[in-house]
Amino acid sequence: MQVKRTKVVAIATAAALAALTAFTAVTPANAAASKNSLAGVNLVIGSKDFTESIVLSKIVKQYVLAHGGKVTDKTNIKGSVTTRDAMTKGQISLYWEYTGTAWLVYQKQTDTTLDPNTLYNKVAAADKANKVTWLPMTSFNDTYAWAVTKAVATQYGVKTYSDMVTKIPADKRVWCVESEFASRPDGMAGFKKAYNVPATDTIKTLDTGAIYAATQNGQCTIGEVFATDGRIGALGLMVPKEDVHYFPAYNAAITTTDAIAKKYPQLIKALAPISGLISNQTMATLNARIDVLGEDGDTVAKSWLASVGLL
């Protein structure tokens, strides 16, 4: 019957259309980003000289490579300021910076009470004057932290940073910091004031990596560490609660020059969602794979991207 046939066709088409719509609606937006969505993008990717900064940049690198872009790897640059300068001078295209660092060191601000979001907004706005673009920030906050061994925490009942100063006996309090922390305004000097650390306390200056081992084997009671470092968990250390807010927020975000942002808008759009996927736990795990298990940065980056379906 003719009416029946038209009905069948109509239903079939509608079904097909519905299926098509459903199909496109279910797949992630990035599926529209094909293997060559970043073709023609040519970047020099830098990073600071510690594991977290390096692996974050490797994630960007592996993503860009997987989508047809070209990358020159210039990760592992010594020093925050050196890395930033490399970008503003055009030697690298982008790197991951921390809101706290930009606020205190580059923008020479002193107010450390701001919450992470407010801080981020202010930093990104201020950096427009420097022609620097900030992509969205991570959910993790890799601020400076102090670590003690679980044994010390139990022995002296240390639950907060104040406990460290008041409950650990003076002759047992040995603080270990690394030389950049000792020289930064948002470093040791400020902390001593905020928490009334006596001037007579012993402070040792060590290489960053050495601090973890030295804290674990007792040569330091209190070691300066980073909140998302994988070695904290691996070496049986714990981070007490920051009861008096001192350390500013250090959320990470990709920073790049306005020029690059303008040149590759498709890149900015593609990279924007990445940071939101990295929590404190995720970051610590990625760090531990490199620092504790000895895996290679590019491998770890690739496998994580694959696990969240971004590859």
Partner: protein, 262 residues
Amino acid sequence: MSKKLEPQLAAGSVYSQSARLIFKRNRSLLIQPILILVILTLMLTYIHNHKLDIIEKVTINPQFIFKAIEDHVFLSFSAAVIILAIAIPGGILFTRPKMKRFTPIALALANIGQAFPAVGLLILAGINFGFGKPVAIGTFAAFGTLPILRNTIVGLQEIDPFIVESAMGMGMTPRQALRKIELPLAVPVILAGVRTTLILTVGVATLGVFVNGGGLGMLIIPGLKLNRQIVLLTGGMLTIIVAFTMDWLARLAEEFLRPRGI
């Protein structure tokens, strides 16, 4: 040959130099301290003219700098003393006829100390034996032993064997020959080695910052990491000044101790 007689020496006396004669003979000994003072003045002028920000003020202040220099001199000097205490007797020992066959082994062991990457060895030592000046000094000594051990051995081997044979033929005991003949003749080479050691230890002591040893690395590394030129340059220039000063003092000692007639 000069007609004028040199000052009289007591019979058997080997060393005795007049300060005037030394400086006359070697102009550069006067120039070196002047150069050091020039660099120092330039550095102080540079600091004075530069407005320091809060990061720079942490390290560029008299208290911090004097402590850094004091620690640095202590580290390098102590390491140098240990090196010399091992390498000079060691060099003498390994040139004695009975010990000669062990010389290659000794040199190989000393070589190992040089082959290790410095920071790695320092941190390894710190983790195992405790961070701080003693371990830093010990590790620096391990790096520096080879050049001066080799120097002492070469210095002693280079002495004309017939001079030594003469000495033995006169009836000196081996110890007397060592003391009166071999060592005085090896002094120039040994002292050159001392100078090398001091410069080396001054350089390597900048790594003390990584193991709680202090020193001028406390300026250089933060200066580098925070990209503060003035801090980096101050640390660097002070290291050079310390090295030049130690070198100058060593050269003075060399001139006073060099036996005449060589």
